[in-house]
Amino acid sequence: MAVKTLTIDGRPITAEEGATVLQAATEAGIKIPTLCHLEGVYDVGACRLCIVEITGTTKLLPACTTKVSEGMEVQTQTERLRNYRRMILELLFAERNHVCAVCVSNGHCELQTLAYSQGMEHIRYDYTFPKWNVDTTHRLFGMDHNRCVLCTRCVRACWHIEGAGTKNIAGRGATSKIITDLNQPWGDSDSCTECGKCVMACPTGALFQKGSTVGEMVHDRDKLEFIVTAREKKQWVAAD
């Protein structure tokens, strides 16, 4: 495998050809904030938090889908980027009803962690207070659309890792919604295998195990990566 050399935030770095800027940065211990990115499933470049500046292009590019190239100069922490990231987070908080104090994932939420790490002090935009429901019809899991950030991690985990295709996005724009089958109660789903991978994938308290109370819901995302790595590298051949 050919190796590319590049600099990230001034540090010289080597990365394998075909690697993304995010992979290269992570390997070098440079942290780029992400939200829709999830180890184990393909990237969609949708949340725009991992945008970086690359010398020679005027466009800001998402680190998760941009491939490294020889001599690339990447900036991940400029004032402009930090400002944009804060604004994106504020937009998310204003978009739905994210009330950390009463959330099952309080303390274990990626959105919350991002807000802290990016120095979000307050939300400048008017809350839209949309009316979303909570689906608790499933035997094991629940979905609180108020906490959903539409990162589609659950959708990708369901299609890509489990292969069930139970979850998808319906509608468009701000009224987009994660659905189960034909937008029916989760408990009535024919296709759901009850594997729980969507719950593991969720960055916030939108998907949770039933019975969790405030702050109790910890998403086990490493399990997904473990399964995918094992599958891709054929680590489990047979259980003889």
Partner: protein, 174 residues
């Protein structure tokens, strides 16, 4: 997959296939799907045909399509709700589509839509209680040269006014 996972109440597809077998339109739709070799990328073409046959896309119909094209129902529903052309609810006997493209807008399309909304007490996208009239808006039907344009039951009418629109609708609702 273990059969124990699927409870009889959940398994809707059997009921849908049963229902479809007694309706000729499902047969026509299936022929259309066959013409596309049941290809999954023909989903949008199939949805167009389905809406043409049934008027709108009800759940059973979407489930039937997903079963025949071997697509998860969530994909079919996701696609059907992404495109505004697809209607998931039944429409009224008559439809009135007011074009809200820029040319129509600057020439007073908003007044036409307000006029109809006020008179029939419905908002755009709604149908009157007696199921006579559905009021819809379009994002430009490309008839800008004759703006403002309104489509009445599929026929485009040029240079409309609120009065002309209400006059036309009156002939539908007696």
């Amino acid at each position: 997959m273990s059969a124990a996972l699927i409870t009889p109440q959940k398994n809707r597809i059997q009921a849908v296939l049963q229902h479809a077998s007694g309706d000729k339109r499902f047969k026509i739709l299936e022929v259309h799907m066959k013409k596309h070799q049941f290809r999954q990328d023909a989903l949008i073409e199939v949805l167009h045909k389905a809406q043409e046959l049934f008027g709108y896309l009800e759940d059973d119909l979407l489930l039937f399509i997903s079963y025949k094209l071997k697509l998860p129902p969530s994909r079919v529903y996701g696609v059907a709700t992404f495109y505004h052309f697809f209607q998931l609810k039944p429409q009224g006997e008559h439809t009135c589509v007011v074009c809200l493209g820029t040319a129509c807008y600057v020439k007073g399309a908003d007044k036409i839509i307000n006029g109809i909304q006020d008179k029939y007490k419905i908002k755009a996208g709604e149908t009157t209680a007696d199921n006579k009239l559905s009021l819809l808006t379009a994002r430009c039907i490309g008839a800008c040269g004759i703006a403002p344009a309104v489509t009445y039951d599929g026929h485009v009418a040029p240079k409309q006014t609120p009065e002309a629109a209400l006059e036309r609708i009156k002939t539908w609702i007696q």
